[in-house]
Symmetry: D2
Subunit: 150 residues, 4 copies
């Protein structure tokens, strides 16, 4: 099984960097896991597909109608914001790109579950998360920290 | 995106039929989604992989340590039995093979969400679910009924 | 802490019997737990309040706006149908009154978690659930079977 | 229905302040909602009961065996850390006392759902949460901000 890295975040102004993160992860052979919706989630999946990578989206709703078009596989959870737990738990590492309060909840859950968290600056500053200055550095840190959760 | 069919159930005595279901689904190009653990879930994934298919496991726990070895992608939900909702919601159709009360909950959720349910006999008899006599028939029914949930 | 009995189900035609179940549970000192919405859930809570009982509603949405007006305490789960797990897990026993597929999922979960389930006839026939002919009998069975889940 | 205030957090060193928060909330007529386990959660419930208040615990596990003894009503969710969403969603306001990453996830969820969050200092510093210097001030802020979520 390939390494799985979860890319979390939101904000249209962060899409370019999220796309770079997705592309770089795919180039390193990592499967990109996201929350499956728009903005950062869509951009990360789009970047991964541009490099021939594999993408998984974990949706909050009860159908796949909100899924972005760059997903190879869609998991429909039906549990609303609680799907944030599944998004970060499914990553061997987590990279945050932008993001508001939902992203903060995800960072909290990731660190609760001992998943390494890389925050692409500027972003949430949380003790225990590793800041990265560029998409390249974020991916480097994430791949280095990835250990299968088993 | 390929059609996704969720295979649910439990019971070691049903593994052979579950493996046939997984294999036949893969031969039809469907991605096989399961709860990611043992018995029927493992057999369905094993069958799919034997035919070169793609498999996704949606786990109840907080790590992938309980995942069976025939999964291409693992979603770690952390929500215990509530992951049953995600298992059936992620299928365009659902096939039940054996199973006890957890499977009954999944059938209830699948029908709540208007996912077509095929029960490979002998199994739970639920009004609204479609009985099938053989793995071949179950897969035939499931593929025919599969319409993307969007 | 008082015994907690979860009343599940749906269907406007079952409201009268659900109200009787709620009233009888309150007369026996049990707290009535429901999914907090309408029909059977509202009727059970209304019945309990008519006898001075205590009621708890466990809602699927993200606000209490859908809560019926007969609840003393409201738990807002935000997890959609997955809140069905919490509804039955929170009961020392479960009584089903009418109901469709959501109720079937709840019966499946309740039996998975070893919560005794009483089905007020006519209703779902599930091996392992105890049928009762009248509200009086259902409550009698439920109180007798209730043992704190610890 | 009484106002419901969720008290979140962890850390044995914060118990005294959490007990004061629970007591003051009860004196103001608010129902105290917590995650139902130990340390800050237990202390807040204990404080509320010392003032004759009402307490609700929303547990992560599948039984009530981990519940602290100061709870009037116990909701057993079975969804692990995802119950954090229910804890904050069930409060008209949220008060954080101490806490680590689980508390950070709760603050993120609370603000996602537009629940006002008061952080008793010293604690997590999150833009959008209101810092309070003393238990008295935290309760004052929380009661003032509490508006039923409907």
């Amino acid at each position: 099984m390939a390494i799985q890295v979860s890319v979390i975040g939101s904000g249209a102004e962060h899409e370019e960097r999220a796309e770079a993160v997705g592309r770089l992860l795919a180039e390193r052979g990592a499967t990109v896991v996201t929350g499956g919706l728009g903005e950062v989630m869509a951009a990360a999946a789009r970047g991964a597909k541009s490099a021939g990578g594999t993408t998984i989206g974990i949706l909050p709703g009860e159908t796949r109608s909100d899924a972005n078009p760059w997903l190879d596989h869609v998991v429909v959870t039906g549990v609303g914001h609680a799907r944030n737990l599944a998004v970060v738990a499914s990553g061997d590492t987590v990279i945050a790109v932008g993001g508001r309060y939902g992203t903060l909840a995800e960072i909290g859950f990731a660190l609760t579950l001992a998943r390494p968290v890389v925050v692409l600056e500027p972003g949430w500053e949380v003790e225990g998360a590793l800041p990265a200055a560029t998409p390249e550095e974020a991916v480097e840190f994430a791949i280095a920290a990835a250990r299968p959760s088993s």
